[in-house]
Amino acid sequence: MFDFCPKHLLDIRLVVISLIFAFFMLSSRVAFTNKSSKNFTENNLQAAKVQPVAICNLSADETKSFCGVSSATLTADAGYSSYKWSTGATSQSISVTSSGTYYFEVVNSSYETVTNGDFESSSNHYNGFTSDYHKNTNNLYSEGDYAVIKNPNSEHSSFATMGDHTSGSGYMMVVNGSSTANVNVWAESIAVLPNTTYQFSVWGASVYSASPGHLAFSINGTQLGNIQLSSSTGVWQNFTTQWASGSSTTANISIVNLNTDPNGNDFALDDVSFAPVCRKTFTVTLNPNPSKPVIAQN
């Protein structure tokens, strides 16, 4: 087919050039996909915009039909620390007894977006967040001071001796509540994907029994809710809520203390988390079997 006339040689050159071009396209793509980072860099965010599904590694939604059974078992993808089913169940598998649509949600902690949310950052325990409080690594006797430490009592003799929430022996943010209202105790600006649901979770505990803190949470100025801490010290209380990004690409998360009582009002924060929620839906149909047939002579 190929005789070596110049025209065909040109064709071959074109083919070679196209191949080289294709190779570079392919290799750059590979390099791009290999770029894995826990935090969303701007590049990753752009990539994720093209394929927003990438942040959820759940198997595809399923339509399941069953014959002649009164119940069916739905099993969520393995590998997640907790599950939340539309039925309220929190187990990996659920048994359903009627046809319908069911779903479970998991938080994809591989895409945790809070930097140093557990205050365990080895390079700098104060990394990632900002605070309108006054950082004081010596003591916490003044209202409006905070420190990231392992034991509240180590910077205030009246504060409880207690472990953090992460491991019981790690770091937490310990705060002497301010008498000024609406001051950010903790804030972090986080790049988010639009049209994605995130779960916000934080743990708080009183470190002094008098006038416990009352923590309120907001994203981009919208209140998410609040928790009234217990007067019992060292009791870690959780606040969890979901937030849908809509068109937002940034989530400015802030935690304020609604209690401005200078007497007491001292607390600790730990394990601030903000990660995408992934959902898988099962459409289940429980069909009855037809009755046992009877053969008759025709």
Binding site: S65, C67, N287, N289, P293, V294, I295, A296, Q297
Partner: protein
């Protein structure tokens, strides 16, 4: 290259289609079981049919259902012989013995029923009848009457395993009460040749029958001679 693959693909598709067709419903003729002794009564099977009859089965029809008809093979395995929307199944009996069927129905959501109870058809062998007569001709005054004996023969060498009913006829008319395997000719009307017939029926299904007939001739006796004085 594409053309080549298209041909290959078409060829493979064709082969798979054939295989699928063969695998989907294999009909086979003949009984599921030709060796077991005949049923003692008709009620011990679902149906008793004559040799060569059409086996015709049905189940109530439901819209949207498909029906899988199974037939037991001689190895005892149920083989699907028909699958589709038809709620009836027919097969021409070929050979005597038990023909056993089962049915599964599948609804519109692709759910299957349990298997039906087996439907057991017993197909009788071909029957033939013969008559043996002690005499085929007698004289009108003979003291000994001809005795006719009817003998059934089943085509499957199990003749003695069946029971039969008999009905004798005389020139085609039923002889009332003549319902055993023998008939004694009592008629002495001279100068007659009469056809005596018998119809033998299987007790299992009396519509499965065979007939035979034989002629009996009654000869007149010559007139009583008279002795007169010679010429």
């Amino acid at each position: 290259m594409n053309t080549k693959f298209t041909f290959l693909k078409a060829g493979l598709t064709f082969i798979f289609a054939i295989v699928a067709l063969i695998a989907s419903a294999q009909s086979f003729s003949g009984p599921s079981d030709a060796t077991t002794a005949p049923p003692s009564t008709a009620s011990s099977v679902s149906e008793v049919l004559c040799a060569g009859s059409t086996i015709s089965l049905k189940t109530p029809s439901t819209t949207g259902y498909t029906y899988q008809w199974y037939k037991k093979n001689t190895g005892g395995t149920y083989v699907m012989v028909q699958s589709g929307s038809s709620n009836t199944y027919t097969e021409t009996a070929s050979g005597d013995g038990y023909y056993t069927y089962e049915l599964v129905q599948i609804n519109g959501t692709n759910c299957s029923s349990v298997v039906s109870d087996p439907f057991n058809v017993y197909v009788l062998p071909t029957l033939s009848a013969s008559i043996t007569a002690t005499k085929s001709a007698i004289c009108e005054t003979d003291a000994t009457s001809p005795v006719l004996t009817a003998t059934p023969t089943a085509s499957n060498s199990k003749t003695s395993s069946y029971t039969y009913t008999y009905q004798w006829t005389k020139d085609g008319a039923i002889i009332p009460g003549a319902t055993t395997n023998t008939y004694t000719v009592t008629d002495r009307t001279p100068n007659t040749t009469t056809a005596y017939g018998v119809t033998i029926q299987f007790s299992l299904n009396n519509s499965c029958s065979a007939s035979s007939s034989t002629n009996i001739t009654i000869n007149p006796i010559p007139t009583k001679p008279t002795i007169v004085v010679g010429p």
